[in-house]
Amino acid sequence: MMLIDPHAHMISRTTDDYEAMAAAGVVALIEPAFWLGQPRTFVGTYVDYLSSIVGWERFRAGQFGIRHYCTVGLNSKEANNEELAEGVMEWLPRFALKEGVVAIGEIGYDEQTPLEDKYFRLQLELAKELHLPVMVHTPHRDKKRGTSLSMDVCEEMGVDPSMVIIDHNNEETVAETLQRGYWAGFSIYPSTKMGNARMVELLKQYGGERIIVDSACDWGISDSLGVAKTAKLALESGVPEETVRKVCYQNALDAYGQSGQMKEEDWLNPPPIDQRTVYEGNSVLRGGREPHIEAPGERRAGQLLIE
């Protein structure tokens, strides 16, 4: 089964992760612009970060046969540094139309401050102007209220719910997210977000319409195989294959494909220029091969020789 991980911060991950993801069937992933764990204190470092995710990281993924897309935006934490935020907002339009940019994101609330609110709204305006989908990061704290507020503001700003992916949902937020017409993302991330056994229960309850599974893997203790392991567990638990295909592949493609920047042909039949340059020597068509789930680095650990 082909898989898409629509939320993966690969800039923080190793080549072992890329290898493991490719072996598990991940054909494409989306790297949202986010907080690096360490606040940026210069606009320039933020600009170079955006350049990295539209350029270098896209190339790096291609070396492993994985198609890389990204979202650009000012995250909620750094929205609280007004000087930085103003500078980033000036540069964002230049990045929003880069190749492979599939949304404005991840944006939204962290502590639900007035500055977070201000820049969330400004970025929703930008997404509307450029007809780009929006990836909304919902807060870890005061989550339920923050999730509702995020959707209230989207509607207030006139953004169509079908263009918005509300991410990091859980059992408490999913009903409202779906009922209001949004895409509901779930991050399979140990300890702080969703577990995959819980995810399987939700799939049994809600089916696969507008639900999207991602790993949100980043610099913290997280699992780049979040999508692959959820797909496997769901199939083993009797969730219909069609539902699994939707939540681990098709829905992400439909939601972010609205940008016009992400198409199935990109991995099934890429244009010659991309084959010659970006994806040189990499065949993505691993058709028929059984996806193989092993821990990143497992093969490495078993190899004593480094040549």
Binding site: V47, L50, S51, V54, G55, W56, R58, F59, W91, R94, F95, L97, K98, E99, G100, G260, P271, P272, I273, D274, R276, T277, V278, E280
Partner: protein, 247 residues
């Protein structure tokens, strides 16, 4: 009289973009007349979206015209959006130093933009002002960006000093990039490069790693240079190197 590169690019792009020809022509006119930098950014951003990324279709005649317009220039393997981007850059009003505008675009470029920007190198005005920009591209870890400069591009032959030339060849070998598409490989061979390549060969042999036959193209002409002669003879005697490779 032969056409200029701008005229050729304009003809090819307008012929091959179907219904978008009017949009391209209109955008170029705005850019030529000194429209804002934003107009340029929007055109560059929309080019692949509106024109697609198919290969530019060029006949042998077109390629001959390209070579006549600028010796060594080969647009073979250019994409339509890439050609349109270079065309836009060449059409810009001369209201800003070229290298400054190039830098501004390069700093925020995505991969396809970088490739297009650097493929256009031989055609840009004020080529001597672009050395820093070219250096940034050569240092890229993205092989296709490096090759946009090194392959099928006469700019290095025409404008690199010996140090930069030599390091481009070394990097090509190091990252597994082909040497034969480099224009000027024979003309720019030099004793210093031959010496470095022989040193590098010794490192590879010591590590038990293979060497491409292309490694020796720039060494052959200087095989009798006293700095490397003995090393090469020993390598041949030990079976690490063949006479043919040095031809």
């Amino acid at each position: 009289m032969s056409q200029t590169p701008v005229e050729l690019l304009r003809r090819w792009v307008l012929e091959q973009v179907g219904d978008e020809a009017a949009w391209v022509a209109q955008s170029l006119e705005t850019i030529e007349k000194g429209g804002s930098e934003r107009d340029l950014h929007i055109f560059l951003g929309l080019a692949p979206r509106r024109l697609g990324k198919a290969d530019l279709v060029l006949t042998d005649e077109d390629l001959a015209e390209a070579d006549a317009a600028h010796p060594g220039w080969s647009p073979a393997g250019w994409s339509i959006d890439g050609a349109a981007r270079v065309l836009a850059l060449l059409s810009c009003a001369k209201n800003r130093p070229f290298a400054e505008r190039f830098k501004d675009l390069r700093r925020t470029a995505d991969m396809a933009e970088l490739i297009a920007l650097y493929r256009g190198l031989p055609l840009y005005p004020e080529p001597e002002t672009l050395h820093f920009e070219v250096g940034e591209g050569l240092r890229s870890n993205i092989k296709a960006v490096f090759e946009a400069i090194s392959h099928q591009n006469p700019y290095p032959r025409d404008h690199f000093d010996e140090h930069r030339w030599n390091h481009m060849i070394l990097k090509a070998l190091f990252v597994g990039s082909r040497l034969s598409p480099i224009i000027g490989l024979k003309e720019r061979a030099n004793p210093e490069l031959a010496r470095i390549l022989v040193d590098f060969a010794q490192e590879r042999w010591a590590a038990g790693r293979p060497l491409a036959d292309e490694h020796w193209i720039s060494v052959g002409p200087f095989r009798n240079d006293p700095a490397i002669k003995a090393t090469l003879e020993t390598a041949i005697a030990e079976g690490k190197l063949t006479e043919e490779a040095l031809q």
